[in-house]
């Protein structure tokens, strides 16, 4: 199966998030970037499908943030081709604009299956994956945990998550785009030596796709951290003191008998 995976860089939420002086965007210069978690799962799912049934995995990304490292890591994990799309400026485009450019880059690859993480936490006009499906004029289903080749040729079986750990098994006729939330297995670990090896041998392919800004349907006027009405009463002291205080609270509430 010829599989294309889209991977995106997102701000690492472990680091403090800063806002630009105009107040309407995240300060991306101050952010550190990591691979979007559900895209990592999409890549893992593609590699598992390739291992089970053959084919190839092509990873496509906008040339933004630490994407080179992400793409070399993908090769070290088993991806066959890595394609970069030029991205001018310091800010990556919003999902809807980027869907158009990804679609332009992906069309010539003649993918049977396109896998994209179902969510990136920095999206507001959300969901690259369904917009990409629309731009490619392909069918779409998202919130998928696990994809397997199906008995019927030209189809895959995808499990869609519902509340209560319930899943719906969906049969998907290819070509199609799937929004991945989780792979059948956790993303694999790859030793740094293999990534270094990939840096020496892997070749980027540059896509000719170009970004064109679409009509602005959603404009951000202000960003701010939430100021909740209530906030936890913070317990301080050493671990032992905090543990003692928690035990006391639980005893007061009759939760330690």
């Amino acid at each position: 199966m010829n599989i294309v995976v889209v991977v995106r860089q997102v701000p690492d939420l472990i680091e403090p998030l800063e806002i630009v002086p105009s107040g309407d965007a995240l300060d991306l210069d101050a952010a550190s970037f990591i691979l979007n978690e559900s895209d990592d799962h999409a890549l893992e799912q593609a590699l598992l499908l390739k291992e089970a049934g053959g084919g190839s995995v092509t990873v496509v990304a906008l040339d933004f943030g630490d994407v080179d490292n992400t793409l070399y890591t993908a090769v070290a994990k088993g991806a066959d081709r890595i394609v970069k799309i030029a991205c001018d400026g310091d800010t990556p485009p919003a999902p809807r604009d980027s869907a158009a450019v990804y679609a332009e880059a992906i069309k010539p690859l003649e993918a049977e299956l396109v896998l994209v993480g179902v969510q990136a936490h920095d999206e507001l006009d959300g969901g690259l994956s369904p917009f990409l499906a629309a731009a490619l004029e392909l069918p779409y289903v998202g919130v998928i945990r696990g994809v397997k080749a199906d008995d019927a040729p030209g189809t895959v079986a995808a499990c869609k998550e519902f509340p209560g750990a319930v899943m719906a098994r969906m049969s998907v006729k290819l070509p199609a785009v799937l929004g991945i939330l989780g792979a059948d297995q956790p993303p694999r670990y790859v030793p740094v030596s293999r990534i270094r090896g990939a840096m020496k041998t892997a070749q980027f392919e540059e896509s000719a796709a170009t970004l064109a800004a679409g009509e602005l349907l959603l404009s951000v006027s202000r960003l701010y951290p939430p100021a909740p009405a209530t906030r936890a009463e913070m317990l301080s002291g050493s671990e032992e003191e905090i543990a003692g205080r928690i035990a006391e609270i639980l005893a007061e509430k009759g939760l330690v008998k």
């Binding site: 006009d125 629309a134 731009a135 750990a165 319930v166 349907l217």
Partner: protein, 324 residues
């Protein structure tokens, strides 16, 4: 029909409506009051009309039926919703950030070339447009956005509005799509239920929840010991389940379980909206996290900024000492 109406996509879960539907109706009522429009509830599927009494907060209840809507699949659902939206021309379409919402809302937005906003917590009119407050970055940031065009497709974050007692006209209209719906390339095959036999975390009084802060599988043992000392069970956020360290039946949140224990001890859980959805209703929430800005502290009653790996054994001991 008016371009000031607010259309709500109701979601059925088995024989009942999903709780979030009632929140959407409340949001819809509030917005419609401000726009001067009506609230339309759309329910897709064979038993749609049976849900009408529960959808009394709406002025019009549009139940659409077609054989392709018997079970969920994206193409028929998106097509049926699109037909209603095109006929009614509402100012806003409210869907929930559910498994179905995450498919249908963007597909509808793409096809209508309409604006979409995710993570919406509050909506109000602003001239011809709408002002939306939306949560992103795992609940660490809010954005005030202006949505200029109609219909605005808004994915609402569960827990943002309280269900309302207000009622609308509650008029039921049963419809069939203009042409029978096409099945599309993606077909529902079967439901897969979690394997029985594991602990039912929804029935526990005490839950020790572990998040990514647990770092390694071996550390889950520490949480098990603590849960045992407290007479409860261990549950987890999604990344811990994704790693295969605990079964899916232990996951709390949007795609996991909704729990309401007497005590929810959240250790190394950031408190993303999808997690909060499953545990906000706990009677007592105590959160432990090394990041003082973690959103979990916004819903917790007590918090501590310490390393969970140090706290777990200390707390097990403190509990044991209390028990004597």
């Amino acid at each position: 029909m008016s371009d000031q109406d607010v259309l709500v996509l109701a979601e059925a879960r088995g024989d009942a409506l999903a709780d979030v539907t009632f929140e959407l109706l409340a949001a819809g009522r509030e917005l419609a009051r401000a726009t001067g429009g009506q609230v339309l509830a759309v329910v897709l599927g064979p038993n749609g009309a049976a849900h009408a009494p529960a959808l009394a907060a709406a002025d019009r209840i549009i139940a659409v039926d077609d054989p392709q809507l018997a079970e969920y699949s994206p193409e028929p659902f998106a097509s049926a919703l699109r037909e209603v939206v095109e006929a009614e021309q509402p100012r806003a379409v409210l869907t929930a950030s559910t498994s179905i919402g995450w498919d249908v809302a963007p597909l509808l937005a793409a096809r209508l070339d309409a604006p979409l906003a995710t993570g919406c917590q509050a909506i109000r009119p602003d001239g011809d447009g709408l002002l939306v407050t939306a949560s992103f970055c795992g609940g660490k940031m809010l954005a005030e956005c202006r949505v200029a065009a109609s219909p605005a497709i808004l994915m609402m974050l569960p827990g943002s509005y309280r269900p309302t007692d207000e009622t609308g006209k509650g008029e039921l209209e049963q419809r069939k799509p203009a042409a029978p719906l096409e099945p599309g390339a993606i077909a529902f095959e079967q439901w897969i239920y979690p394997e029985a036999g594991d602990v039912d975390i929804t029935q526990q009084d005490v839950l020790v929840a572990v998040g990514r802060g647990i770092q390694q599988q071996d550390n889950v043992e520490l949480a098990e010991e603590l849960a045992q000392a407290l007479g409860g069970a261990v549950c987890a956020s999604r990344p811990v389940v994704d790693q295969g360290w605990l079964p899916a039946t232990r996951q709390v949140g949007k795609s996991g379980m909704i729990v309401k224990p007497k005590l929810y001890l959240a250790l190394g859980v950031s408190g993303a909206p999808e997690h909060q959805e499953g545990m906000k209703g706990a009677e007592l929430i105590i959160a432990v996290n090394t990041d003082p800005k973690a959103p979990i502290f916004d819903v917790a009653h007590y918090g501590a900024e310490v390393d969970m790996l140090d706290l777990m054994p200390a707390l097990s001991e403190a509990i044991a000492a209390r028990k004597g």
